[in-house]
């Protein structure tokens, strides 16, 4: 009950009995997990392709297999979260650029099939040309697969996601790179893991920068990233990935143990980071303040502007849209 006792009273409530204005996502843990596996898969395919190009076939093979495995894991995760798993294939019913999830489905389809094929041929050691083609396809799809999930989340009414739309793809991309690097480092002897190791470290740094910029920019709406469960996850992510990266950077070259430990910590850190962003969305959707306050400020500002600039004609206002734009005009 807002107000003192009894049903709601009129003292400027933020919302209706404190209820959420928008609906929190219905997604369960699988999607959080997919954010990680998808990123890992995508970046690994790219890493593998790059390694191939650089003639580093050992790394190429490892990352190829990692990528294929991650992609393979992604499908059941996605399917399982559906309300009607039986209708999973409806995802490919149309090719719809306005729907990041539609795009994502296609990207994952391409990446998944190609890296799958490539991996199979790699193991079987047959049809080298086809394999190469598949590797190229997967490698090129990789960056898309590892970043589109940022758009996937941002293209919703969830304040913590939508307001973070600029940085989210970068955060996820860097996190993906770090994961791919770490995964390969984990599986390879330090001597062969140089590029992977450097990628892991660079990824961690990159994602740190991206996160920081994002939180600074969106301010109040970013609160969920710092508080509650997501906040805790964020701290774990920083700690694990940070220490892991440090370990890799300082001792990863020489000590296999350090390399394995560091890589494992980075991977764990990336998992935490994904779930941090995932959970933050729920929290920011559930508390009406994150939806109402920014919009209220926007509306008031506009009202003030309109009042101020009467004769000056309507001033360009936030939160407005030109008629004819969007699906309505098609």
């Amino acid at each position: 009950m807002s107000g003192d006792r009894g049903a709601a009273r009129g003292d400027a409530p933020q919302s209706y009995y404190g209820r959420p204005i928008i609906k929190p996502p219905v997604w369960t843990w699988e999607i959080g997990a997919y954010l990680f596996t998808g990123g890992l898969g995508g970046a690994s395919a790219t890493l593998s392709l790059a390694a191939r190009a650089a003639g580093d076939h050992r790394l190429a093979r490892t990352s190829l297999l990692v990528g294929a495995a991650a992609d393979a894991a992604s499908l059941p995760l996605l399917a399982h979260d559906l309300g009607r798993p039986g209708r999973f294939l409806n995802m490919l019913r149309m090719f719809k650029p306005r729907s990041p999830m539609s795009m994502g489905s296609w990207i994952l389809a391409v990446s998944g099939t190609s890296s799958g094929v490539a991996a199979a041929l790699e193991v079987a050691g047959r049809l080298p040309r086809l394999k190469l083609a598949a590797e190229v396809a997967a490698g090129l799809a990789g960056p898309a697969l590892s970043t589109y999930t940022g758009v996937l989340l941002a293209d919703t009414a969830v304040p913590a996601w939508h307001e973070a739309r600029r940085e989210l793809p970068a955060v996820f991309g860097m996190s993906a790179a770090a994961s791919a690097g770490a995964a390969a480092t984990l599986l390879l002897p330090p001597a062969d893991a140089g590029p992977a190791r450097r990628l892991a470290v660079a990824g961690v740094i990159g994602e740190g920068i991206a996160m920081e910029t994002m939180e600074r920019r969106i301010g109040f709406v970013g609160e969920p990233y710092r508080t509650g469960t997501p906040g805790r996850l964020a701290r774990w992510a920083k700690a694990l990935a940070g220490v892991g990266a440090l370990l890799l950077g300082l001792r990863g070259r020489r000590s296999r143990t350090a390399s394995v430990a560091g890589a494992a910590m980075v991977l764990a850190g990336e998992v935490c980071l994904r779930f941090c962003v995932f959970r933050a969305g729920f929290d920011s959707a559930t508390d009406p303040a994150y939806t109402v306050r920014p919009q209220r400020e926007r509306a008031d500002a506009r009202a003030a502007a309109a009042a101020g600039a009467q004769e000056a004609g309507p001033s360009p206002e936030p939160g407005r849209i030109a008629p004819g734009d969007g699906d309505g005009a098609r």
Binding site: A7, A8, R9, G10, S15, Y16, R19, I21, I22, K23, P25, V26, T46, L82, G83, R84, P85, R87, F88, N90, M91, R93, M94, R98, S99, P100, M101, S102, S105, P143, A144, G150, V151, A154, D155, T156, A157, H162, R166, P169, A170, F172, A176, A177, A191, G194, P195, R198, L199, A202, V292, R296, G319, R320, I321, P323, G324, G326, G328, A329
Partner: protein
């Protein structure tokens, strides 16, 4: 009273709306929608019940919320019309702002301060730029020839993307097994603006049931004109904070197909004060993603500079 409006659908084909709206194809009809005038809503919930009866929507559970007379709480998969109740220590009319008669309701209650009980029937807005429809990967959500937004239950795979996409929290996924859905359903559900009734020239069930015409169904252009006249009248009578919500074709979602006359700020009714369709920034988002992808590629390339060790 409703009968005069029932034939609103006998409209010429291929109509256009002031806001540049164009319905598609030869089947195109005048865009229709609702004007919900909360200043005459008596909170009888006939709309809520009529909707459930006509569309065979299951109950939402039997929980006493204590939130005034509202026990269904919010729009969702099992509540497509929702009547909000807000009790306020505030008169409906600003004390002696403009002529005494006619007297707006809720007036003096014997308490020193005025008191009012706002009631408002919420529904899917059938946005001009509908986020739910934009993001739906399967094409289950579609734009009908009447300009309304409808879920095709035989296509929806329950991916749930439309749920957080809607800036009004209208859609939700139905899970709970209950009276009329024996096994879990898993799809999302929302107001169809009674697509089936429109097809046979009937007005939607909720509007038909509304005794006071708080819910007015008709062609959007006509409804907007009517709403403007109504607002003028109320303003003249000195109603506090009366304003139209979602009538403006230039707002963040390009105007609502189902818009409202509210007596307090939208958030008081659980509505967003300045909703913006998320996909409005989609282009921008893709560009940032491309940049991020580029960064990933660059980074991957860069790490081979140092050779294998």
């Amino acid at each position: 009273m409703t009968t005069e409006r029932a034939d609103a659908l006998a409209a010429p084909h291929g109509g256009n709306c002031a806001d540049g709206w164009r319905t598609y194809g030869d089947d195109a009809q005048e865009r229709v929608g609702f004007f919900t005038d909360t200043s005459i809503c008596i909170g009888c919930k006939a709309c809520e019940v009529a909707c459930k009866e006509w569309n065979d929507v299951p109950d939402d559970g039997f929980a006493f919320t204590g939130q005034s007379y509202d026990n269904t709480g919010a729009l969702g998969a099992n509540t497509w019309r929702h009547v909000a109740f807000i009790e306020q220590d505030r008169p409906v009319r600003v004390p002696d702002a403009t002529p005494p008669a006619p007297h707006p309701p809720g007036g003096d209650t014997g308490a020193a301060d005025g008191f009012r009980w706002l009631m408002s029937s919420d529904v899917c807005k059938h946005c001009t730029h509908a986020a739910c429809l934009d993001v739906c990967p399967t094409g289950s959500l579609f734009r009908t020839e009447y300009g309304t937004v409808v879920v095709q239950e035989d296509i929806c795979n329950g991916c749930g993307y439309c749920v957080p996409a809607c800036p009004f929290g209208v859609l939700d996924r139905r899970e709970r097994p209950n009276a009329s859905v024996v096994k879990p359903d898993g799809r999302v559900h929302k107001c169809t603006l009674c697509y089936d009734r429109l097809k046979v020239g009937e007005e939607p069930a909720c509007a038909r049931a509304c005794p006071t015409d708080s819910i007015q169904f008709g062609e959007l252009d006509e409804l907007r004109r009517r709403a403007d006249r109504r607002l003028e009248k109320l303003r003249a009578e000195g109603w506090a904070d009366a304003h139209l919500y979602g009538r403006d074709p230039h707002d963040g979602v390009g105007g609502f197909g189902a818009f409202f006359l509210l007596l307090d700020r939208p958030e008081v009714y659980g509505l967003p004060p300045d909703p913006v369709v998320a996909t409005r920034h989609l282009g921008e988002m893709w560009r940032w993603a491309a940049a991020a992808a580029g960064a990933v590629v660059a980074l991957v390339a860069a790490v081979f500079a140092g050779g294998r060790r």
